[in-house]
């Protein structure tokens, strides 16, 4: 049975697209069929972060409006055979994203893939609501920062009220993904502690992604960080989060730099 995941946050710039790409690549590396879907109509970026921007022909709206078949709009990743991306439209009106159209496409994606990962736009408007509507699981991406935690709380409320699962009397499984976490600053008391965020939001923790230069490097290169530098702390944190999504019970740690003395001295190639 396919699992539909939404990666959401309310606030912009917290790492939804980075997380979608990294988790998608990690899950696909185990041989499962994964599709990452960009719901940010008008401001698509998942294609760029995945390095597929030059190959976009058709998009989600084209499929919804019947201009293209789903199979024609899916772009197969060049590095991982079992990973595909469905881009958002860059030019169309957001209203072109209809509830019926999205439902039809999601149904078709469920039949084709093991994992459907929806990258939600920021905000709490239509696009964000449609991205979460069909989800079985929600990954709430949160920075240890007051406005991000507040917006996440808002989104959690929506997940529990306006989704298909919630309307049917069920519950979406929610997971907290804490990103851009800086252990040193948290230790100095300059950043909200993990326990604080968990207590406030009270949803289970999926993983802690440490702040890292590797994330910017990955988006520069157009590759999920789990592929561009698999040994880096954020990549290992994402890989572990992906294993937890598959049901593995792993102790949650904050991965740190693994470097030899020489490398540490010279801050060399990582």
């Amino acid at each position: 049975m396919a699992k539909v995941l939404v990666v959401t946050s309310g606030k912009g710039g917290v790492g939804k697209t980075t997380s979608t790409a990294a988790l998608g690549a990690s899950l696909a590396q185990t041989g499962q069929n994964v599709v990452v879907v960009d719901f940010d109509v008008g401001l698509r970026n998942l294609d760029l972060v995945m390095g597929a921007e030059r190959r976009v022909v058709f998009d989600l709206i084209n499929v919804i409006q019947g201009d293209a078949k789903l199979s024609q709009a899916l772009i197969r990743d060049k590095r991982i055979e079992t990973l595909s991306i469905l881009p958002a439209s860059q030019t169309r009106d957001k209203d072109a994203l209809t509830a019926e159209g999205v439902a039809r496409v999601m149904q078709e994606l469920r039949e084709k893939f093991d994992w459907v990962i929806c990258d939600s736009p920021a905000g709490i408007e239509r696009g964000a609501q449609l991205a979460m509507y069909h989800a079985d699981h929600a990954i709430v991406v949160t920075n240890p920062e007051v406005s991000s935690v507040r917006d996440s709380d808002r989104i959690i409320g929506m997940l529990d009220s306006t989704t298909e699962k919630a309307k049917g009397g069920g519950k979406i499984e929610k997971h907290l993904l804490l990103t851009r976490y800086d252990p040193a600053r948290a230790a100095r008391g300059e950043m909200l502690r993990i326990e604080d965020v968990l207590e406030i939001l009270s949803i289970p923790l999926l993983g802690i992604i440490p702040e890292s230069e590797e994330v910017l490097r990955a988006s520069n290169l157009g590759a999920p960080v789990t592929l561009s530098s698999p040994d880096s702390p954020p990549a290992r944190a994402y890989a572990e989060a992906a294993r937890r999504l598959e049901g593995e019970k792993l102790e949650i740690t904050v991965p740190t730099e693994r470097k030899g003395l020489l490398a540490r001295l010279f801050k060399g190639k990582s």
Binding site: L48, G51, E53, R54, R55, V56, V57, F58, D59, N62, D67, A68, K69, S71, Q72, S89, Q90, T91, L216, R217, S219, N220, L221, G222, F266, K267, G268, K269
Partner: protein, 91 residues
């Protein structure tokens, strides 16, 4: 880039130039108003398909359109799965 970086291999691995090149190519396409590129492509696909359909039966699903946007030229690739053609006169 400092001597230090060059000496210790950072120079060969920087990612910012890659980012700049990718953005330049992408934005050149997005700015020239070919935002309706997909309209053009679906039109092209429909018309090409129409011509081919006059001669052989082809399903829309058996058509794959691939694109690779480049700096000065883009590559448009249309793959059409053609069913076995029966020559007239045979059953």
């Amino acid at each position: 880039m400092g001597l230090f970086d060059t000496l210790f291999g950072r120079g060969t691995k920087t990612s910012a130039p890659v980012a700049r090149d990718r953005l330049q190519i992408l934005l050149a396409h997005e700015r020239t108003g070919d935002g309706n590129e997909s309209d053009l492509l679906s039109k092209l696909q429909a018309e090409i398909l129409e011509v081919i359909k006059r001669h052989i039966p082809v399903e829309q699903e058996k058509v794959q359109v691939k694109l690779d946007r480049g700096n000065s030229v883009s590559m448009l690739e249309i793959d059409i799965e053609v069913p076995q053609i029966r020559t007239p006169g045979r059953p």
